[in-house]
């Protein structure tokens, strides 16, 4: 279990999010504090603004009202300082680059250009996601799970304090997904990053998260924030078969049903 500090990584106060030109906000009145080193999973029915929240933190979408601070500064500032990494639902690898060159992309653009030390670090991150032996392949030679691992290695390349993951394993089969979940937890323990992880799966939300944030739709809003610490054993591994876990899963299912209307 990572030590959850008292320092705040992300803070939102009556945050409202929406797309320019649309009258209806996607998400409103969000109050949320995420501590540094925390693993927060975000669950909600479709259209509740889960991805929108991540996009705002990554400075892909400006807030329409309220306040959002990322590591104590505006989201744009945190992005410019390379403190936020983003893993998209699709791996979004550039097909003309090898796996290694894809992982190196963050070092070739923006602030992170330190071209000289590129090679060893790329290999280091690829090793961490278990793909060092495939670094000369092209993305179309990889499976979906491998591609997503490369995109995680690319996000880790900037050594972000905050890692935002937008349903990264949503398109994968369950066995691959389980394995990647365990890998992600071990990466989290090693890097001490703060992770916000959007998912559709209740099981995944319970297994990964230290806390789970449940959003409701129409209008998008925060519905509940549930602490999952009681489910973790002394090593921080989730006892997902325990009666408590079943109970929380049932509770989450009910919340999703109520919030979907």
């Amino acid at each position: 279990m990572n030590p959850v500090t008292n320092e705040i990584a992300i803070e939102a106060r009556s945050l409202g999010l929406g797309y320019p030109g649309s009258m209806q906000p996607v998400l409103e009145g969000v109050d949320l504090s995420v501590a540094k080193g925390e693993f927060l999973t975000i669950l909600g029915p479709s259209g509740c603004g889960k991805s929108t929240l991540l996009r705002a933190i990554a400075d892909l979408l400006p807030p329409i009202n309220g306040r959002l601070s990322v590591l104590g500064k505006p989201a744009a500032e945190a992005r410019r300082q390379r403190e936020v990494g983003f893993v998209f639902q699709e791996a979004t690898l550039l097909p003309w680059r090898t796996v290694r060159d894809n992982v190196c992309l963050p070092l070739q653009v923006g602030k992170g250009r330190i071209a000289k030390s590129v090679q060893p670090r790329a290999d280091h991150w690829l090793e961490l996601v278990g793909l060092a032996h495939l670094s000369d392949r092209y993305p179309n030679q990889l499976s979906g799970g491998q591609r997503q691992r490369v995109s995680i290695a690319r996000a880790l390349q900037c050594e972000p304090d905050i890692l935002l993951m937008d349903e990264p394993f949503g398109a994968l089969d369950e066995i691959t997904r389980d394995r990647l979940n365990d890998e992600l937890l071990s990466i989290w323990r090693r890097t001490h990053a703060t992770i916000l992880f959007v998912t559709h799966s209740i099981t995944e939300a319970i297994y990964l998260g230290g806390r789970v944030l449940v959003l409701a739709a129409n209008p998008g809003r925060c519905q509940a924030l549930i602490d999952l610490a009681s489910l973790k054993d002394e090593n921080g591994v989730c006892r997902r078969e325990s009666p408590q876990a079943q109970e929380i899963a049932a509770q989450l299912r009910q919340l999703l049903r109520d919030g979907g209307a």
């Binding site: 990554a58 892909l60 390379r82 983003f86």
Partner: protein, 254 residues
């Protein structure tokens, strides 16, 4: 389905056999049907003319190649630059893209006399006609290529705080390379066509001039030899672009 696939041997031999069958028809069947040699000379007599007049033909091909090459560079360069302007300035694009597309519907044969009128009888009007023919495919392909980055890819560049120049160089440009080379391959042959069309209308040298003069003088063998050389020029240009593309890909992915 498997049974319909050609073996390697068939795939090599059949195209050659097909071409030969047509040449045989041309060499022996057409004369036997009574088509006179001053209208359609036989392949052998064309080759004979080619062998005896190659010096004069090459002398006339040189200005055509020169015009085609200049037109190729001028047309493609203008197209790439304009495509970049269109992609980065939606207003300029909205204002001028439709006009440019409309302009493209004017047949080049109808436009050629106007270009000769404007640019005179020198080499310039031929270059301009060749450039015009290269311009449109490249413009349209480049606009498509440069805008083909997905929104996820653009967002990735934003999260990485890439500058506009970096997004262009690392994302948009590589995305458009396959389409650029596709249109460069088209341009390789159309630039030769453009130069020849220009020479038809106002020139006393070049392959186009030879084609027109030998048509009027009923020198069918020379006409066919000039057409053969024009076609060969297009093929050679095409092969050179293909070669450059392969070298480029080798350099781009070591």
């Amino acid at each position: 389905m498997k049974r319909d696939q050609l073996s390697l041997l068939e795939a090599t031999i059949l195209p050659v056999a097909g071409a030969f069958s047509l040449l045989i028809v041309w060499q022996w069947v057409l004369p036997a049907l009574g088509v006179p040699a001053y209208i359609v000379p036989t392949p052998f007599s064309v080759l004979r003319t080619f062998a005896s007049e190659w010096r004069g033909l090459i002398q006339n091909a040189l200005p055509t190649w020169y015009e085609a090459l200049l037109g190729f560079f001028l047309g493609n360069l203008t197209a790439v630059i304009l495509a970049i302007v269109f992609v980065y300035s939606p207003r300029v694009r909205a204002a001028y893209f439709p006009v440019v597309l409309l302009f493209n519907t004017i047949p080049v044969l109808a436009l050629a006399p106007i270009i000769i009128l404007v640019f005179g009888l020198g080499i310039l009007p031929k270059v301009v006609i060749a450039a015009l023919l290269c311009f449109f495919p490249t413009l349209i392909n480049m606009v498509r290529g440069l805008t083909s980055a997905t929104s996820n890819e653009l967002e990735l560049m934003h999260v990485l705080s890439a500058s506009g120049w970096e997004t262009f160089w690392r994302l948009r440009a590589p995305r458009s390379v396959p389409l650029l080379f596709a249109s460069l391959r088209i341009s390789a042959t159309t630039s030769v066509i453009g130069a020849i069309v220009g020479e038809w209308i106002g020139s006393d040298r070049g392959l186009g001039a030879v084609i027109i003069q030998s048509t009027f003088n009923y020198q069918a063998e020379r006409l066919f030899a000039a057409v053969l050389l024009a076609s060969l020029s297009g093929i050679i240009f095409f092969a050179i672009v293909g070669r450059i593309e392969r070298i480029f890909h080798r350099l781009a992915s070591p």
